[in-house]
Amino acid sequence: MALEPEQLSNKVEESIKSAQETCDDDPVSGECVAAWDEVEELSAAASHARDRKKESDPLEDYGKDNPETDVCRTYDN
């Protein structure tokens, strides 16, 4: 299962600290640039995880799998 937004947030935080440290050592190195690229990748992943969490509605998911149940029935006419 995909990581929870909370765990990804931790990863983002760590990656930022790591990037800042790496760049302190050598601001023009490939390592510094790659470190900030990792921050971007994790930030994007964290944002997607937040969006997915917002989108998933437990009742919607249940209804998709069990459309005949009373709570999920829809009437088209």
């Binding site: 299962m1 995909a2 990581l3 990804l8 947030s9 983002v12 935080e13 760590e14 990656s15 930022i16 600290k17 990037a19 800042q20 760049c23 190195s29 490939g30 390592e31 510094c32 640039v33 790659a34 470190a35 900030w36 690229d37 990792e38 921050v39 971007e40 990748e41 930030s43 994007a44 992943a45 964290a46 944002s47 997607h48 937040r50």
Partner: protein, 330 residues
């Protein structure tokens, strides 16, 4: 991507029962592949080599070409999965040839062999100011981030972005350029957007969208006696231009839609939309009113590009039916 796949038909979803971290989306008509799956270096590998994901050295273009060509030729492939959560390359997943294949990512037009396989290409060009504003919106909620870290990340990646990603613009059949508005002097909110749909001329099966009179130059403010808009209003522009050495036609929208009738009014004045019925653009925009950009040019032009691609696809299918390729019977 959701707007495009919705126009083609069906809702695109991750493949069921497979890797939950797959980047692939599949609908009845369309399969969307994320090109990060062709990373040759995973996160650790890139860190060790001191290379960003933007760098061609982190991507396997031979495999990308081989697999996109195979799918186009009707052959299923076992495509790698790049897991964005773990940063690792996961075991491959089966991709069966769909009616419409979409490849999206950092380098769809970088390799000339891959480029030549594309029937249509789009580049989403976000200006620096808008990119900064969007990343702030996205990342300020993250506890680790600050304005400085957001800025530092953008700046660090800029050289690679400008060297490897941005130059792909010249090859795109359509560029959607997102800029800050010109309607509000000294605007620093960044909420209103000016969006330009830059359409290449002379592309097979693609007839650019235009306003009023094809090939002429038009400035149009729809708000007035027939249509009331709230501040700062809406401004359109259409005209021929030269872009990266190509002849193009540009449709531009600055401002925001507040109401349904503004949208249908604008739609009724645009030509060559390739819509199947009057109001189809408006209907698609309403269907996805909760998606970002639903009240401005980004949503409008992405929807329109979806209709143009659908039309292109149908023309290609029709032309194949007329001239069947294959062995002749004796």
């Amino acid at each position: 991507m959701r707007r495009l796949t919705s126009v083609f038909g069906g809702a695109a979803e991750p493949p069921k029962g497979g890797n939950p971290d797959s980047n692939t989306l599949i609908s009845d008509t369309t399969t969307v592949i994320c090109l990060d799956d062709y990373h040759s270096l995973d996160r650790t590998g890139r860190k060790e080599k001191g290379v960003t994901a933007l760098d061609p050295r982190a991507n396997d273009f031979d495999l990308m070409y081989e697999q996109v060509k195979a799918i186009k030729d009707g052959i299923s492939v076992q495509k790698p999965i790049y897991n964005h959560v773990t940063g690792l390359l996961d075991p491959p997943e089966l991709i069966k040839p769909p009616k419409i294949l979409v490849i999206e990512g950092l380098h769809p037009m970088y390799d000339s062999r891959v480029r030549d396989l594309l029937d249509f290409s789009i580049y989403l060009d976000i200006s620096n100011e808008v990119k900064f504003a969007w990343k702030i919106q996205r990342d300020m909620a993250e506890r680790g981030h600050s304005l400085e870290s957001i800025k530092a990340s953008i700046e660090a990646r800029k050289p690679d972005f400008e060297a490897y990603i941005d130059p792909q613009k010249q090859y795109a059949d359509a560029v959607i350029e997102v800029l800050p508005t010109q309607l509000i002097p000294d605007d620093n909110e960044g909420k209103i957007l000016r969006v330009r749909l830059i359409q290449k001329e002379g592309v097979k099966y693609f007839s650019p969208v235009y306003l009023f009179d094809e090939g002429s130059t038009i400035s149009w403010i729809p708000c007035g006696r027939k249509l009331t808009c709230s501040y700062p209003g809406i401004k359109f522009f259409y005209g021929p231009e030269s872009y990266k050495g190509n002849e193009v036609s540009v449709v531009e929208m600055d401002g925001q839609f507040d109401r349904l009738d503004e949208l249908i009014y604008v739609e009724s004045h645009l030509s060559n939309l390739s819509s199947k019925f009057y109001g189809e653009v408006t209907q698609q925009m309403l269907k996805h009113a909760d998606f970002p950009g639903s009240n401005n040019g980004t949503g409008l032009f992405q929807t329109i590009v979806g209709l143009k691609i659908r039309d292109l696809f149908e023309q290609i299918v029709a032309s194949r039916a007329e001239t069947p390729v294959g062995a002749t019977k004796a």
